[in-house]
């Protein structure tokens, strides 16, 4: 009987940014869309604050100051690289992979 595995990386862009700075491990982190427009990724700490996906960065300045939210401009080269690494690791378990979107799927 075939076994199916579903793999999803949590808060992927935010997690990528956290990887390189352990100081951020438990801090609220968001990643912003091009030109720092909107929030396109939220770490679990940011989600817990009730900040919604896609909200314009300028609209949450008060919360950002209050809770010390750390914002990153998006770095797609980084996210693509890290995504490829994940896929490559999964490929070590099975050749039958169906990769569902890298671009801009963050929740």
């Amino acid at each position: 009987m075939p076994v199916f595995a579903l793999v999803d990386c949590n808060n992927f862009y935010a997690s990528c940014e956290k990887l390189f700075d352990p100081k951020l491990a438990s801090k609220p982190v968001v990643v912003l869309s091009n030109n720092d427009g909107c929030v396109v990724a939220r770490s679990v700490e940011v989600k817990a604050l009730g900040i919604p996906m896609g909200v314009p960065w300028f609209k949450i300045q008060k919360e950002a100051k209050q809770y010390g939210i750390v914002a990153f401009s998006s770095n797609y080269a980084l996210y693509a690289d890290m995504s490829n690494r994940v896929v490559e690791v999964l490929g070590q378990f099975t050749p039958n992979l169906e990769v569902y979107t890298f671009p801009l799927k963050s929740s």
Binding site: F20, D21, P22, W57, F58, A71, S73, N75, A77, R85
Partner: protein, 147 residues
Amino acid sequence: MLEAANSGFDWLPALDPPRVFIPLGAAKVSAGFPSPAADYEDKRLDINEYLIRNPVSTFFFPVQGDSMQGAEIFDGDILVVDRSIKAMHGHIVIAFVDGERLVKRLHHRDGCVALVAENPAYPTIDIRGDMELVIWGVVIAKFKRLG
């Protein structure tokens, strides 16, 4: 408005480039020590394969400073850092101490952890209970272009 940070930090991803095997010359180049390539005699050497064991867990970091010069790690060298290796006593590691990123030799004996520089000008950092230590990865190689 609060500034967004750029993750334009100084690491570089280890890509998975096409393998380029370059034939080794038959004659050894003597620099006064045994050639690290001696084992590859009559073979072809791929630089990526030589420096990187596990591409998915490997990152490059340029070195700043001279605290590891005794280990032949100099300012401007690029370190090959593998996160899949469990750090052990004696390894050179990328470590974060209270948030500050360092490259040092890991000392771990008798329950004591310390980060040791390879330069007498820099003190050993003894990790106390109130300090936060994250070992980020193990340095497995370094390289540099000459000119």
